[in-house]
């Protein structure tokens, strides 16, 4: 249970930034 919590919390901390990087790349590519 503890590992699951830490895993989810870590994803909540890191994934938005990672996804954002991908989205920004996509938007830039689409813009070009």
């Amino acid at each position: 249970f503890d590992e699951v919590i830490v895993d989810i919390a870590t994803k909540r901390k890191q994934y938005p930034r990672k996804i954002l990087e991908c989205v920004i790349k996509t938007l830039k590519a689409r813009h070009e």
Partner: protein, 173 residues
């Protein structure tokens, strides 16, 4: 506003004080009464050693945990975050448990930016096309005028040619 690191140290100190108080010499002597009766000084020394060692071990453990988890820095940064957010009344946002939903606010600023850029491009292109459309309409009018001119000239020449023929025919007779 308080320092979490200081509070942590205070709590551990209090814990140790109370633990030491619970493990008093009196209590220790009660438990090891034979030894205490036989050699009270030794018992006292052993008890003192017990307390010193226990405190040292626990303090060392806390330092290790602080070291390992970089706890001091982390707690100080939490102090700062709490200080910065202290004016926020009411419960702050928390993850909803649906990542897609939580991501909306993360991504929105960038999509809003894209929308605004697109809006500007569309407006610019529309204005440009407006000019082009006017130029096309003017061009169509121009072409029409020219076509009419040509038509008029053509008709005039044809009329002329026709009348000449008639005239020539008359003259011929």
């Amino acid at each position: 506003t308080f320092s979490r690191v200081k509070l942590l140290d205070t709590m551990v100190d209090t814990f140790l004080q109370k633990l030491v108080a619970a493990g008093s010499y009196q209590r220790f002597a009660d438990c090891y009464e034979h030894l205490h009766r036989l050699q009270p000084e030794t018992t006292q020394r052993i008890h003192d050693k017990f307390i010193t060692q226990l405190q040292a071990s626990i303090r060392e453990e806390i330092s290790e945990i602080k070291e390992e988890g970089n706890l001091e820095t982390v707690l100080n940064s939490l102090d700062k975050i709490v200080e910065d957010g202290k004016n926020h009344k009411g419960p702050a946002w928390r993850p909803s448990g649906t990542p897609e939903r939580d991501l909306c606010s993360v991504l929105a600023p960038y999509f809003l930016q894209q929308r605004d850029t697109l809006r500007r491009h569309v407006q610019k292109q529309e204005a440009r096309n407006q000019e082009l459309a006017e130029a096309v309409l003017a061009g169509r009018r121009q072409v029409e005028a020219l076509q009419q001119q040509v038509q008029a000239q053509q008709q005039a020449w044809q009329a002329l040619r026709k009348q000449r023929r008639e005239l020539a025919a008359v003259l011929m007779e």
